[in-house]
């Protein structure tokens, strides 16, 4: 069996949870052949993972190629305007989430016949269609600059539709959204079945992103409506949907996914890679392990630590993890907050660490204060090491932790601080929860269990 794994901006060009999961999947099923399609920014990205032997090919599909696309200045072919008019009508008409998904799929299929979608969408004719449709359906205003910006972005986002479809036995998509366009093209051309995994919820993350994204209101409306329609269409076409937590399943059902086709599949870790910690550091130590990213809400963690240090002057906060490109400003804001709260020397941004185990073993307690998560590896890995966790209640975190750690509300630095102080000062509780954490991982979240689940799904679709 040959499986194509599709994702946006992850394996093998970036680190992170989804990349870890993809690498695990490929290496964990050496009897399968694999291909990887990754939607990249400009195609200049280079692999940061050592590629397994059973990975036959890696296709980078840039959405914004460095060599600009040759954009046709001629009017688009006549077959474009009808589906594009329907496309606009569907994204600009308020509808119950999930309704009309089959119809939207059909529109995408018809649009995929257009070779130069960027040129077609930004042509004067298509912009006129956009304006007509906007004013027919909405009362708020839009100007031509908004229309051009949104059409230009949509044209690039839809590029995977026009690419040559990948031919393998099965397409396994790591996330909803633009990656699903690759799977749709393969299904329309070759009938390739689709498994859709969702670590987080792609649509929810776009919604959060566009709360602060500096774009105009009409551009925000057009893009988010497109993402909503695309999410619904993806749930409609996927043969199996595999959320990584029950909590995220709610979004899929709300998006029109057939509950019969949804099967929750948790991330797993290899216990041998995350051995039980046998000692603790001398000073009370709180550890964070992950990328420096606004979604991790490190400001809340730093503010919480300020309270912890008031109670435990000896306490240390060690923040392990790299800063992805584009997040330098956020990294700087964390450094500034540490200085502002007078925590220099106690709260330290340690940067990348050679192995995560080293980070987990370096603390008494592991903290994760994210505002959005799927089913985070960092929590399961810390638990496997026998470290109790303090986490915010987002995504599948509460399902992972259950009663083996402390779960508090997101953005509540006082609650995070109280939980951390409790664990740092109560040795008995800390050791009890640490042991329960390891036990919980061994029972439910091992890599082998996760691989067995996926193998079973593949065999159901390709008996």
């Amino acid at each position: 069996m040959k499986v194509t794994l599709v994702s946006e901006g992850t394996y093998p060009f970036a680190m992170g949870g989804v990349s870890v999961w993809m690498d695990q999947l490929i290496r964990g099923m050496p009897d399968h052949r694999w291909g990887v399609v990754t939607l990249t920014v400009d195609g200049a990205e280079r692999p940061v993972w050592e590629l397994p032997d059973n990975l036959d090919e890696v296709v980078s599909m840039p959405l914004w190629p460095t060599t600009p696309l040759r954009r046709s200045t001629r009017a688009p072919e006549t077959g474009f305007h009808e589906p594009y008019g329907e496309f606009l009508r569907m994204i600009l008409t308020p509808a119950v989430m999930g309704d009309g998904s089959r119809e939207f799929l059909d529109i995408l299929r018809r649009l995929s016949a257009c070779e130069d979608l960027v040129g077609a969408l930004t042509s004067a004719e298509a912009l006129t269609q956009l304006m007509d449709c906007w004013y027919w359906n909405r009362l708020d205003g839009i100007n031509l600059a908004d229309g051009i910006t949104a059409s230009h972005l949509l044209g690039h986002m839809l590029r995977p539709l026009a690419a040559e479809p990948i031919r393998t036995d099965l397409t396994h998509v790591a996330m909803n959204g633009l990656s699903m366009l690759v799977a749709m093209a393969a299904k329309w051309r070759y009938g390739t079945p689709i498994v859709l995994s969702e670590h987080g919820v792609y649509l929810r993350e776009r919604y959060l992103q566009y709360l602060t994204e500096p774009v105009s209101h009409p551009v925000r409306v057009l893009l988010l409506s497109f993402f909503r329609r695309l999410a619904g269409a993806s749930y409609a076409i996927a043969d199996r949907i595999a959320p990584h937590s029950s909590y995220n399943k709610r979004w899929q059902v709300h998006g029109g996914a057939d509950p019969e086709r949804i099967h929750v599949m948790y991330n797993g870790v290899d216990p041998a890679d995350f051995p039980l910690a046998t000692s603790e550091p001398e000073r009370p130590t709180l550890v964070f392990m992950g990328r420096i990213d606004p979604l991790k809400d490190l400001h809340t963690l730093i503010r919480a630590f300020a309270i912890v240090r008031d109670k435990l002057p000896d306490a240390v906060l060690r923040i392990f993890g790299g800063t992805p490109e584009g997040n330098e400003t956020y990294h700087a804001s964390c450094v500034a907050l540490i200085a502002e709260l007078g925590l220099e020397g106690s709260a330290v941004l340690e940067g990348r660490v050679s192995t995560q185990v080293e980070a987990y073993h370096a603390g008494h307690v592991v903290a994760l204060t994210s505002i959005s998560e799927g089913f985070p590896y960092t929590v399961v890995e810390a638990m496997a090491c026998g470290r109790p966790v303090v986490c915010t209640n987002v995504g599948g975190v509460a399902e992972a932790v259950a009663d083996a750690g402390l779960v508090v509300a997101p953005r509540d630095h006082v609650a995070v601080a109280e939980a951390a102080i409790r664990l740092l000062t109560d040795h008995h509780l800390r050791h009890r929860l640490g042991a329960a954490s390891r036990e919980r991982v061994m029972e439910r979240f091992t890599l082998q269990q996760s691989l067995d689940d996926y193998r079973q799904v593949y065999e159901e679709l390709l008996p």
């Binding site: 042509s123 006129t128 229309g147 993350e205 566009y210 105009s216 909503r228 209640n393």
Partner: protein, 429 residues
């Protein structure tokens, strides 16, 4: 209860476009289905989000902001004057080496410097990290070319030095203006201009030597300033995209203008000065081109439909072209205060005015990357002049009329090309 929640979260949710976006935000605030049920009496977060969304108070969308303008009136208008500054030294240089040697040498050097300068501009804008390296290589190459021109003309050593100075000025002034250092350039060249003017007032040979020496020092200072300015941009030279087409365009442009002027620069002062208005007006063309681009980008924020954009942009285009032609007519008239008015001189001046209008449109098309079309249009004009003249020698008046016709053809072709580009509104985003 949801009213209080909506009021509390309103600042964060003011950008929300639909209830599901509010649901995402509520979850990121720690609300889940249980809290939605227990605290707010809703079935789940999605239902609570709809209630909150309905209660959000939205600020009216601010009116579209203005575009960041790239036009800089005073600085860009001064470019023509800055390019012309070494011209103040011409009488003194001519007295030193003789017009017979000076003019052919300077015409050829100007052409080479034009092409080389165009090449440097592509490095400067296309691969800024290697602009310093490109400038240093360009200066070496330029000096070599200037020396070769001097040797080919079997000119005296003084002319050879002047050719090198001329090409050095062209390359370095271009780099300074690209980096918006108009003030630095004006200050550095001012002593040379004063010395040139002093020579005109005194007329003594010693004053000519002094003026040329001061002028050479000024050009050396300009070169030092350009080299210092780009000292950090020393990455290895990487050929920018579109360099060959850009070079071809610059070469054709230089050929078209210089071949028309070269024949007359020594013996017909009335024709030789006809191009002065165009040189002085280059800043006006540059400024109006920037104004047009700022204005059309502004139009995209004021209209809804492409057809409205095209209509308004066409009006702006003609408005800009009118301004350029009017300014060039005024500037081209100035030299005739000092030299006799002749029919050939008037026709030649008119041709330069029309050519200036075409340059204005060329700037717009080049900024859109339409270099191939520019080359074709320029090629068509070259077929007319000097094409026809080469086939059948013409008297001076007919030759200048033919050049005027070629300029008009060039202008019309570019006007059609530019107007047709205005239908593709995407290009002006």
């Amino acid at each position: 209860m949801s009213e209080e929640l909506a009021r509390r979260l309103n600042p964060k949710l003011v950008q929300a476009v639909e209830p599901l976006q509010v649901a995402a935000a509520l979850e990121s605030e720690g609300l889940n289905d249980k809290i939605a049920r227990d605290r707010y009496g809703h079935h789940d977060v999605f239902s609570l989000a709809e209630a909150v969304y309905d209660r959000l108070v939205r600020e009216s969308e601010p009116p579209p902001g203005g575009v960041r303008r790239r036009s800089r009136a005073f600085a860009q208008l001064s470019h023509g004057l800055l390019y012309a500054m070494p011209g103040a030294l011409l009488p003194a240089a001519s007295a030193l080496v003789g017009a017979r040697w000076l003019m052919p040498g300077l015409v050829l050097t100007t052409g080479a410097g034009w092409v080389l300068g165009g090449c440097l501009a592509r490095f400067g804008y296309g691969t800024p990290a290697s602009a310093g390296t490109a400038l240093r290589l360009g200066l070496l190459l330029g000096a070599g070319i200037a020396a070769a021109i001097g040797l080919a003309l079997q000119a005296p050593p003084a002319l050879l030095a002047l050719c090198v100075a001329q090409i050095t000025f062209q390359l370095c002034s271009g780099m300074l203006l690209m980096h918006r250092r108009e003030g630095v350039m004006a200050v550095l060249m001012a002593p040379g201009v004063l010395a040139g003017a002093l020579y005109l007032a005194i007329g003594e040979p010693v004053a000519a030597v002094l003026a040329v020496t001061v002028g050479a020092g000024c050009i050396a200072a300009v070169a030092c300033a350009a080299v210092l300015l780009t000292r950090e941009q020393r990455a290895p030279v990487r050929v920018p995209a579109g360099l060959p087409a850009g070079l071809a365009h610059t070469a054709l442009t230089a050929l078209f203008l210089l071949q028309a002027e070269a024949r007359y620069v020594v013996e017909r002062p009335d024709l030789a000065v006809a191009g002065a208005g165009l040189v002085l007006g280059m800043g006006v063309l540059e400024y109006r081109a920037h104004c047009f681009e700022d204005d059309v980008r502004g139009v995209t924020r004021q209209v809804c439909y492409p057809v409205e954009f095209t209509r308004q942009a066409q009006r702006l285009l003609l408005h800009g072209l009118g301004w350029c032609l009017a300014a060039l007519v005024a500037l081209s008239a100035l030299p005739f205060l000092f030299v006799a008015l002749t029919p050939e001189g008037v026709v030649m001046a008119l041709a330069h005015v029309v050519l200036g209008g075409a340059y204005y449109l060329s700037f717009l098309l080049a900024n859109q990357g339409r270099v191939a079309e520019l080359c074709l249009a320029q090629g068509a004009a070259l077929v007319l002049h000097p094409g026809i003249r080469l086939a059948a020698p013409l008297p001076v008046l007919s030759d200048t009329l033919l050049f005027l016709a070629a300029c008009l053809l060039f202008l019309c072709l570019l006007l059609v090309l530019t107007a047709s580009r205005l239908r593709d509104v995407w290009a002006y985003r």
